[in-house]
């Protein structure tokens, strides 16, 4: 409890201020809720974030006005207001610039990063509340919980960012006793949290905040790249919860309501995402524990290459070709060439369909957007459920820069980290052609047995180059 804030509120008996700010926050929350509601349907999604943004703007302005009047007796008021403005300006500059500059494909790690910042802010509030040392124990417990959850989310999100950005290896990093170390860290946090409540010295509270910071980063180490979006969502929910706990400590309903809504909706979203990948949350979080990767499997298996001309003639005489685009097509910006390829094939009477995996690329809807940009008709695109039964009758599955979304380990290898995830069953096609630059791995960082099948042929090179070569070869036929 921030007793001096409470004292200020009690001292300031201005009914206009009181009702005005409460009404403004009320509208903010309304805008948040309506915004989230709209965001959960594709047709209204973008309007949703705008509404929520309006709510946030209103809340921030309201906070400034409120703080200005509450702090009238504080000699440092203008220093503090100045710091706020300055920090918001710097934060805006950095946040705005970095999130506009970053390529679309790096969005997941940006979400992780900004979520981590929120967790950090939530931890800071709890930390200061503990340092203050006033207030009933029940609220102190909530403040300590905000520190643990917020700090874990902060460092865990940064860990996720580093992994996704490949600044550290995106493969699961495991070591014996990992689970035990993490459990120990968590228990340690609880003990130090207890000490920070009963005896809030600067030392205790500082030690206290360190442990969850360590825990967060260690928790993310064993999680593989492909599972990261789910884990980021979990940290997102946790930050929401931490914000709600801060709200209790601050007796601020705006924080309580917004934080709880994010905590609850984020939890459900995490479960939905895990379910969409056919994984349980427990498995994602603790699945890699103890399962030390075998290094033995590294004997070089053979990928067969094929010449562009051979590939073109097989394609030209096929009845049905299913194209599976993936992140590589996006990275190479090959969509316009793919359109040409489709036209060239259709001219020859080949039936061309596109198989779109829900998480192909790095963004939801990534493939749909790119293909639409190239004016590929919408009715050529098929969802996972619709296209999977068709691979069997396809002469060629042409994979353009996709990897994880066609990895049959998900069906074949119960030890694979992506086991159980629904995939596009390209391996069922009569021939499989794969366009990629080399032996690079996908987002999940795991090997793909599809590339070593007898019926699989590789067309190495940048996707844009290879596809345009294919088009040329087809034209010459």
């Amino acid at each position: 409890m921030f007793w001096n804030l409470l004292a200020m509120e009690v001292a300031n008996q201005n009914p206009v201020l009181l009702h005005g700010t409460t009404a403004a926050y009320f509208i903010s929350i309304l805008l948040f809720i309506l915004g989230i509601k709209m965001m959960s349907s594709p047709a209204t999604a973008r309007k949703g974030i705008h509404w929520a943004g309006l709510g946030m703007l209103l809340a921030i302005i309201t906070a400034f006005v409120h703080i200005y009047f509450l702090g009238q007796s504080d000699p440092q008021l203008f220093l503090k207001l100045g710091l706020m403005v300055l920090m918001i300006l710097i934060g805006t500059a950095i946040g705005w610039y970095s999130s506009l500059k970053v390529p679309m494909t790096d969005m997941p790690q940006m979400v992780a990063l900004f979520n981590g910042m929120g967790g950090g802010a939530a931890a800071v509030i709890g930390y200061l509340d503990l340092l203050h040392g006033h207030g009933p124990v029940s609220l102190k417990v909530l403040a300590a919980a905000a520190v643990i959850i917020g700090a874990t989310s902060f460092s865990g999100s940064i860990g996720a960012f580093l992994k996704l950005q490949r600044w550290i290896s995106s493969r699961p990093i495991t070591y014996p006793g990992q689970q035990f170390v993490n459990a120990l860290l968590f228990l340690g946090s609880l003990v130090l949290g207890y000490l920070s409540i009963t005896n809030p010295t600067v030392l205790n509270v500082n030690l206290f905040i360190l442990l969850p910071l360590l825990l967060g980063i260690l928790m993310t180490l064993p999680i593989g790249g492909a599972d990261m979006p789910v884990v980021i969502s979990l940290f997102n929910a946790l930050t929401g919860l931490a914000v709600a706990f801060d709200g209790f400590a601050l007796q601020n309903y705006t924080l309580i309501i917004s934080g709880t809504i994010v905590g609850a909706s984020g939890t459900l979203l995490t479960i939905l995402m895990a379910r969409a990948m056919n994984r349980s949350l427990f498995n994602i979080l603790f699945g890699a524990f103890g399962k030390v990767q075998k290094g033995g499997e590294e004997e070089e298996k053979v990928m067969k290459e094929m010449s562009i001309d051979d590939a073109a003639s097989i394609l030209a005489f096929a009845d049905k070709v299913i194209i599976v685009p993936g992140f590589g097509m996006a990275a190479a910006q090959a969509q316009h060439k793919v359109k040409e390829l489709m036209e060239e094939l259709e001219k020859r009477g080949v039936e061309v369909k596109f198989a779109i995996h829900p998480v192909a690329g790095r963004m939801p809807g990534h493939m749909n957007v790119l293909l639409a940009e190239a004016d590929i008709p919408y009715d050529r695109l098929y969802d996972l459920e619709d296209i999977n039964p068709e691979f069997e009758t396809a002469d060629v599955a042409l994979i353009i820069g996709a990897n994880d979304v066609v990895n049959p380990s998900a069906e074949w290898d119960p030890n694979s980290p992506i086991y159980g995830m629904p995939i596009l069953q390209a391996y069922k096609a009569k021939n499989v052609f794969v366009i990629k630059r080399g032996r690079g791995r996908g987002f999940a960082g795991i090997d793909n047995p599809l590339f070593y099948l007898d019926k699989t042929y590789m067309l190495f090179g940048d996707a844009q180059k290879v596809v345009s070569d294919l088009v040329q070869a087809l034209k010459k036929l």
């Binding site: 804030l5 906070a63 509450l70 679309m104 957007v369």
Partner: protein
């Protein structure tokens, strides 16, 4: 009703509201929605601002300022990232013409 109970009631109702709004979102919206709710908890910025007001020692002032900075990053970054993602849906919608 005692203050603590009011808070609990509000907590419960908010949890239901949040939970119910999200049920049955299409897979394709998972990432932007995660990012959107990420933006919403940027409201922590407002909390950090009030906390900075209460700062009385230099340590508190420094840490509080840092909190405001983190909160601002959450708000602005969360907004821009979400908006960029969702802009793709608009484009798609326009193109689809159905």
């Amino acid at each position: 009703m005692p203050e603590v109970w009011v808070a609990l009631y509000i907590f419960m109702l908010s949890a239901f509201t949040g939970f119910e709004i999200i049920s049955r979102v299409p897979v394709i919206l998972h990432t932007p929605l995660m990012s959107g709710t990420n933006f919403i908890h940027g409201i922590v910025l407002v909390g950090a601002m009030y906390v900075l007001l209460t700062a009385s020692t230099p340590l508190e002032l420094a840490v509080g300022t840092f909190g405001v900075f983190l909160g601002a990053l959450n708000v602005v970054g969360g907004y821009v990232v979400t908006d960029r993602m969702l802009a793709m849906f608009e484009e798609k919608k326009k193109r689809r013409k159905e």
